[in-house]
């Protein structure tokens, strides 16, 4: 039983990491209709940015800032100079998917000569252990969960209570209508990519903290779990992504304890396939998200 309680503990941290990433990813899709397959790679690059800061003596928690900044800027540039021009040109959904895949490959392969093939890890002071009901977590792990909770509350607050949030929701629901109502959709979209890029960056650093090590190859692995969580929750739905992250995080950790740790991603994939077959619109469907063939 202890094994499963421990797995539950890992599950909570997994949920935290995945939720930060998945919320950013799903908002990119919801508001700009872009399945950003380069998301995992941006996470990886941000993770490395924090790594270099960390190597230079910066505390890893402070290094979240350069991580978030790099994520924000890189994501913004990606949209401004690659995605948006193609979308304006009228490229169809499939073309955009291919383009984002090409972008992800390019980013990964530009990083390779710079950072090398070997793995790296952060210097993290785990801090004292905290116990409760058989759950044992380090302070650092609790902090990760706290960061996730703060960010989720932040996203909720942003969407519900700020003008920007309302503008974002309007743009997501119907961009033409939003524009006609005077919402500067272009500016909203730019801001969305900055914010979600920052989330992506933080997620990259936190993911690095949660693993023993990471490398350029980590990017692809992140992407699978994130897509699974986002689709499970309902593509484009931030609250859905949080729920999706909760389910994926717990289930993958429990199955890792039950079967073997190497198959975490396989479990996430299996969930993804099940969702797509049984309920493709996800748990919290966006109205019309799954309308006619894309």
């Amino acid at each position: 039983m202890n094994l499963y309680v421990a797995a539950l503990g890992f599950g909570l941290i997994s949920v935290s990491v995945i939720s930060i990433a998945a919320v950013g990813f799903t908002m990119q899709f919801g508001i700009t209709n872009m399945i950003n397959l380069a998301y995992g790679e941006v996470m990886m690059v941000s993770g490395y940015a924090a790594f270099y800061a960390n190597q230079a003596g910066v505390n890893i928690w402070v290094a979240l800032i350069p991580g978030a900044l790099v994520g924000a800027v890189l994501s913004f540039l990606l949209n401004r100079f690659l995605y948006a021009p193609f979308q304006r040109k009228g490229t169809n959904l499939i073309g955009m998917v291919i383009i984002s895949l090409a972008a992800s490959l390019m980013i990964a392969n530009v990083m390779l000569p710079i950072v090398g093939y070997y793995t790296s890890s952060y210097v993290v002071d785990q801090g004292p252990l905290l116990r409760s009901n058989g759950l044992v977590l380090t302070t650092a792990q609790i902090a990760i969960i706290a960061v996730a909770v703060i960010l989720m509350l932040g996203v909720h607050g942003l969407l519900r209570y700020t003008r920007l949030g309302k503008a974002m929701r309007a743009t997501a629901a119907n961009p033409t209508l939003a524009r006609n109502c005077g919402i500067p959709t272009q500016r909203v979209i730019d801001v969305v990519w900055l914010i979600t890029g920052a989330l992506c960056g933080v997620a990259g650093v936190v993911a690095g903290m949660n693993s023993e090590n990471f490398s350029v190859a980590s990017g692809a692995g992140y992407l699978i779990t994130i897509i699974a969580a986002a689709v499970l929750g309902g593509a484009g739905q931030p609250y859905g992504a949080m729920i999706g992250a909760l389910i994926i995080g717990i289930v993958t950790e429990l199955s890792a304890a039950a079967i073997a740790p190497e198959y975490k991603e396989v479990v996430a994939f299996a969930i993804l396939v099940l969702v797509m077959v049984l309920r493709p619109q996800g748990l919290l469907a966006k109205r019309g998200a799954l309308a006619a063939a894309g």
Binding site: F86, I94, M96, I98, A103, N109, I227, V266, A292
Partner: protein, 333 residues
């Protein structure tokens, strides 16, 4: 030119051409974004391998794999092709029925990543990360595999396969069946409103593509004598996509051209890069990394400037058609 080099080039070209023709049928003609194509080539290779290898206990059992039936040519090649087709059935039934196209693409991409990961981790199945080595090629017990005659023999076996696949692809693309596939690609809903069954069309061409992809894998493994997960990582599919996009979507000549330009031409061109450039030695692995960056740029560049590819899909004019005015040379975006 060294004849070993020429033979290698020809066999690789043949394999790539066959693969691109298959992917073109799925993607260029029918609009199925099969991001898992490399898995079908891999299953063809693995199947051909385990059909032609001796049982894994031989040679001291340092490799661990299923099968080992030591079957002679052409059974391993036929088996590889069939395996590709058989794999296409469950994958197609799950992915191609109800999902919108971008979800289909992502599912297939994820499948590609997962399949590689599973094969790597489950060692007794297909020898895990090390893969299967010392795969005997066709007639390798009668002709010395290291000899020049064997190289010629292999080319002689590959070329008829290329021609056969080209014939099949041609007949499909230039037939009313091909026209239905293209209609489905253009507007699936309208095609079904005209009586076409999109699921049946997709499954059919997915399986056909799987068979041809499997064949390409079988041909490859017989030549290079090894198949391992590192050879079929998910980005390998992207090279083939780049080839089809660059060469020209939807038509076979375009696919062949793309195969010659991208996987073959590109590889050969980078081979010519000298080991030092003006005294500077590039770090190892810089060239392969830059190759990938170039592939990405190729895809993006072509999709921006010339999405129809070097050789676009040709306009089909039927016998007895009225003479067209010159001004009507426009094609849709």
């Amino acid at each position: 030119m060294n004849s070993y080099y020429a033979a290698t080039l020809l066999v690789y070209a043949g394999v790539d051409i066959i693969a691109c023709l298959a992917l073109n049928l799925q993607f260029g003609v029918s609009g199925i974004v099969n991001f898992s194509f490399i898995v079908f080539q891999a299953i063809g290779a693995y199947t051909a391998a385990v059909l032609s290898m001796p049982p894994d206990t031989a040679y001291g059992g340092y490799q661990s794999y299923v099968g080992g039936f030591q079957l002679p040519f052409p059974i391993p090649w036929i088996g590889g092709a069939l395996a590709g087709g058989l794999l296409a059935i469950p994958v197609g039934l799950v992915v191609l029925r109800k999902l919108r196209t971008d979800y289909q693409a992502i599912s297939l991409l994820v499948l590609s990543v997962i399949a590689n990961s599973v094969i790597t981790n489950v060692r007794p199945f297909l020898n895990g990360a090390a893969g299967i080595a010392q795969v005997p090629g066709p007639f390798s017990d009668q002709v010395d595999p290291l000899s020049q005659s064997y190289q010629l023999l292999y080319v002689g076996l590959t070329i008829p396969c290329v021609l056969l696949v080209w014939l099949v692809a041609s007949r499909i693309v230039n037939s009313p069946f091909g026209r239905s596939l293209r209609a489905m690609r253009e507007h699936e809903l309208a095609a079904s409103a005209l009586g076409k069954n999109p699921v049946q069309l997709k499954m059919t061409i997915f399986i056909v593509g799987g068979i041809i992809g499997g064949l390409s894998g079988a041909i490859l493994v017989g030549f290079i004598a090894v198949v391992a997960p590192s050879i079929w990582l998910y980005p390998e599919t992207i090279i083939l996509f780049a080839a089809v996009i660059v060469g020209g979507r939807g038509n076979n000549l375009g696919a062949i051209l793309g195969a010659l330009l991208v996987p073959v031409g590109f590889e050969e061109a980078t081979r010519l890069i000298p080991p030092t450039i003006g005294g500077w030695v590039p770090p190892p692995n810089l060239i392969p990394a830059m190759q990938w960056v170039a592939i990405g740029l190729l895809i993006i560049g072509f999709l921006w400037f010339r999405p129809q590819g070097v050789r676009p899909e040709q306009r089909r004019v039927f016998e007895g058609a009225p003479i067209r005015e010159d001004s009507n040379d426009a094609r849709p975006a």
